[in-house]
């Protein structure tokens, strides 16, 4: 074998770099789900909690298109049997009135930066 040593050294460097994320995190605390402050008054959300956790971004995306482009403002819930106003500030944030302790905690821990708040005004004028 020609240059066997170099090849093996190269491979070793490659494997080391490739697995860097794994051993870099050894010893770090495992990911814990952030504690969210839930609305005190409201009992139910527009949909089930699990569903909202996974789908709220799609839901909001649909809402915004339906409201702005089609003028459809009423959302019929699949579980609550009620109709809601499709509005981030008038519906969601009326219950979840603390963006920092609800939205931001999850988004920050997952390093997600939604740009909704560049335009939509958070309750109590939070940034």
């Amino acid at each position: 074998m020609y240059d066997g040593g170099k090849i093996i050294a190269g491979l070793a460097v490659f494997v080391l770099l490739f697995t860097f994320p794994f051993w870099y995190n050894i010893g770090n605390a495992a990911y814990t789900r952030p504690k969210l402050e839930l609305p005190k008054e409201a009992k139910e959300c527009v949909e089930k909690t699990e569903w909202m956790r996974a789908e709220h971004m799609q839901l909001l995306n649909h809402w915004r298109d339906e409201v702005v482009r089609e003028g459809h403002r009423e959302y019929k819930s699949m579980v609550a049997g009620k109709t809601f106003n499709k509005s981030l500030t008038k519906t969601c944030m009326k219950c979840h009135d603390n963006k920092e302790k609800f939205c931001d905690r999850c988004h920050n821990s997952l390093a997600v930066k939604p740009y909704c708040w560049d335009c939509h005004v958070a309750p109590k004028g939070e940034k």
Binding site: R64, V68, H120
Partner: protein, 249 residues
């Protein structure tokens, strides 16, 4: 492949047949029209009574609109406006004569005309500007990429561009209406959000009867009634944009 005159004529003939079978293809190049707006259904319109408006009332209209829609006041050329007061000679350049200056109300209100044939919609590459079936020329601020073609296309200067984050210039924010962000174009939306709730536009309410509002296609609507009684003009009608804002003289 050898192309001959016979082949060319064959293809030309087939294409012509295609157009005749599916004439909608001919309109494929323009998305400015949209259904409704001109024919049946609702078409919202405004009639501004230039005799009833005075400076104070106009200021109130502007304030009503700009405060609920988080429109900032910026003291420079970068100012944002949805509705503003302007001299007749700016609004009706083709109709100006020197005696018109003698009328006491030299100014009147200007806003987006929600044109029936809006040039701004035609040029928007992302369809952020589009026409709703009820004739409202809407802005989808989520889609605007800030190319400003619409500003170049609008012959009425109805649009403003956000050169900076507008929040820096807002003393108070209305939490029920979003602000805009740097890099998007904005304009009056005929208060689409209020119409959908069954309310009238904010400026119409603030004008205390000096602005009429209603459905142009309904002969009994307030606008149609007043248009029947009074003489009215529109801004730059010769350009063919078919404005929905009428000025009662």
């Amino acid at each position: 492949m050898k192309s001959s005159r016979r082949k060319f004529l064959q293809i030309a003939g087939l294409s012509a047949l295609g157009w005749s079978i599916c004439p909608s293809l001919l309109q494929a190049s323009g998305h400015g029209g949209g259904e409704g707006g001109n024919g049946q259904g609702v078409r919202w319109a405004m009639a501004i009574d230039t005799r009833k408006l005075d400076d104070k009332l106009m200021e109130e209209c502007v304030h009503a609109c700009h405060s609920i829609h988080n429109v900032p006041k910026i003291n420079s050329k970068q100012n944002i406006k949805w509705i503003w007061s302007a001299p007749f000679e700016k609004l009706f350049p083709g109709q100006m004569h020197k005696f018109l200056k003698e009328v006491p109300e030299e100014h009147t209100l200007a806003l987006c005309n929600h044109c029936g044939n809006p040039s701004c919609v035609r040029v928007c590459p992302t369809k952020a500007t589009f026409k709703r079936p009820d004739g409202i020329v809407m802005m989808d601020f989520h889609r605007c990429i800030g190319c400003r073609y619409c500003m170049a296309a609008c012959p009425y200067g109805s649009r403003s561009f956000n050169f900076a984050d507008p929040r820096r210039f807002l003393k108070e924010q209305n939490p029920d209406f979003p602000t805009r962000t740097k890099g998007v174009v904005e304009k009056c939306t005929f208060c689409a959000e209020r119409l959908d709730e069954g309310k009238r536009p904010a400026c119409v309410e603030a004008a205390k009867g000096a602005i009429y509002f209603g459905d142009l296609n309904d002969p009994h609507s307030e606008v149609r009634q007043v248009l029947k009684e009074r003489y009215s003009i529109r801004r730059k009608p010769g350009l063919g944009t078919d404005p929905s804002v009428y000025y009662l003289i």
